[in-house]
Amino acid sequence: MAGRNLFATTNARAVGAFCVAALLHLAGTILIPGYSSPFAVRAMLVLASLLAVASIGQTLVVIMGGIDLSIPFVIGFANVVAAQLYGDGWNFVLVCGLVGVLALLIGGLNGLISRSLDIQPLIVTLGIGMVVQGLVLLWTAGFPSGSAPQAVSSFVSIGGSAGPLPVPWLVPSFIVLAALVVLVLERTAYGRRLYALGSNPGAAPLALIDPVRMWVVTYAASAFFAAVAGVLLLGFTGSAYGDVGQPYLFQTIAAVVVGGAALVGGRGSYLGTIAGVLVLTEINTLLIGLGFQPSAVQAALGFIIVLLVSLYGRERHVSTTI
């Protein structure tokens, strides 16, 4: 099997996705004037970084064999709560701390309920997400106010620069964060346990892996990174918006899958997810640059996701699993 299929390993899939992103960029440069201009590339890097931060949690959760539909709701929650409290005159560091802790609690609850009662995380995270969004709407009466502090805005601003680098601080910070995530997945006991649990949930407890603890920790991490994305998006858009996370529901899943992860668990890597994020960002920019309507962009995105995954994300036939 491995000999016949070029994309049999996760690494090869990630490399494949990076190649697709590069090809798309090449196509954009040829088709659209100014596609590779410094400003356009900077904009793409910022958008890709935001999506990649939001996708960290989805990657971890998918490797473990779960799925997290609460990410868009937690993004909206962090976005609105941070703006509101900062607008009320709170210290922004304190605000971020509070939002982070609340996000960890939300995520932990997702993991605890899903694993300890063995319920589909799809339903649990959806339900918890709806409760969170409802509470935020209730608190702000549907009209969130407030804005981001200047520091956050310039941290993610497309026009910003990080010292000598012509990109905002978000991009180098993200690269450091990404390296840390990869390190945790590849080189720590937590990473090994995550893959083990995803590959074989039945055998993992025999290797003294506590499934409930792993699920609580991983879902908490997922919600935490969603909250980080929410605060960053606050700086990016300038004002609070409860539905700011909604496009991230399917985009995080698509990025993870285009990056070569299997939703049944045990397979995937954060580098792959980053490649998937780049592919999605390139497709979006390319199609909008070619003058497609948003609805047509969406249709084309669906088509391309299916096409890409059929190239290298195919499942094994049942006859080869016996």
């Binding site: 339903i123 649990v124 899958v257 299916v306």
Partner: protein, 314 residues
């Protein structure tokens, strides 16, 4: 018959209890709305969600991550295609043409989903996410803004005749249950490797499940059209997740091979009645959403707890 009822109640379990409680609460709070005279309109109001839940079931039953998240957008696409393209532009109003057209659209989308998920073997949630995005995009392209009206006969399907499409769906599923295919579907859903070793054509069984989801989704699209009496490109996709929640609530295992259409329908009715109770209290939509999410989680938790008890008792 009684053993079948017993096994149904065991698999659906908590959803039935919830149904009875919610029905009683609704009757006490709002007797006028549940008068026999308004049953037609009431069922018409609940029908699209019930239809969407029923349509989501076969793909989930087929197992190994089988799921069809394109049911909602398919309903929206059928809605737009039937009203905007066939009725308003081409002037076709006969049910003899429109109903088969809707079912055919559903079948074709089901074939596409089935091909991607079983022959190309893309993970089902990703394959149907692809069709989800394509259908949503195409629907918005052919119909950028809501438009009406719908033919009179179609509107009647949300009023006095609202039982008819649901009844037909149940009859169709009842017929499927009588075929050997049904046993193969449940076998593949429970353990595809064992089914394969026993000589079942796993790919074919799963493929047909997606086609069934598509056809039933086309029917649900007609129910949606009947209810809103017009075409609206934005309503369809909202049914997707809530339909899957209804299926899970109704005791259909998202791992496959367990549950059925009756459970899914009961789960959907639960959600509908829950919405109805919460609306009667005249609370803000925000509180509605909180209660809705919380009860959804609580309900699946209680279902899981009850299943554990049942397993222990055996």
């Amino acid at each position: 018959m009684s053993t079948r009822l017993l096994s149904l109640s065991r698999s659906v379990g908590f959803a039935v209890v919830l149904l009875v409680i919610l029905l009683a609460v609704n009757l006490i709070l709002n007797p006028a709305r549940f008068q026999p005279g308004s049953w037609g309109a009431l069922i018409g109001l609940a029908a699209p969600l019930i239809g969407a839940a029923i349509a989501s079931t076969p793909a989930i039953l087929a197992g190994r991550g089988g799921i069809d998240i394109s049911v909602g957008p398919l309903m929206g696409f059928v809605n737009a295609a039937v009203i905007e393209v066939l009725f308003l532009k081409a002037g076709i109003s006969s049910p003899l043409l429109l109903v088969p057209a809707a079912l055919l659209i559903g079948a074709l989308v089901g074939v596409a989903n089935g091909f991607l998920a079983t022959v190309v073997r893309i993970q089902p949630i990703v394959a149907t996410l692809g069709t989800y995005l394509i259908l949503t995009g195409v629907t918005l392209t052919i119909l950028p803004a809501p438009i009406g009206p719908a033919p009179a006969w179609l509107k009647a399907l949300a009023g006095p005749w609202s039982m008819l499409p649901l009844l037909l769906m149940f009859i169709a599923w009842g017929l499927v249950r009588r075929t050997p295919y049904y046993d193969q579907l449940m076998a593949v859903g429970s353990d595809d490797r064992a089914a394969y070793t026993a000589g079942v054509d796993v790919t074919r069984v799963r493929f047909i499940a997606y086609v069934m989801s598509g056809v039933l989704g086309g029917c649900a699209g007609l129910m949606l059209t009947a209810l809103i009496g017009s075409a609206d490109p934005n309503i369809g996709p909202t049914y997707t997740l809530i339909a899957i929640a209804a299926v899970a609530l109704g005791g259909v295992s998202l791992a496959g091979g367990r549950g059925g259409v009756a459970g899914a329908a009961i789960g959907a009715i639960d959600i509908f009645l829950l919405q109805s109770v919460l609306t009667t209290f005249n609370v803000s939509t925000f509180v509605l959403q909180i209660a809705y999410g919380a009860i959804l989680v609580l309900a699946v938790m209680l279902t899981a707890a009850q299943e554990r008890l049942a397993m222990r008792g055996r």
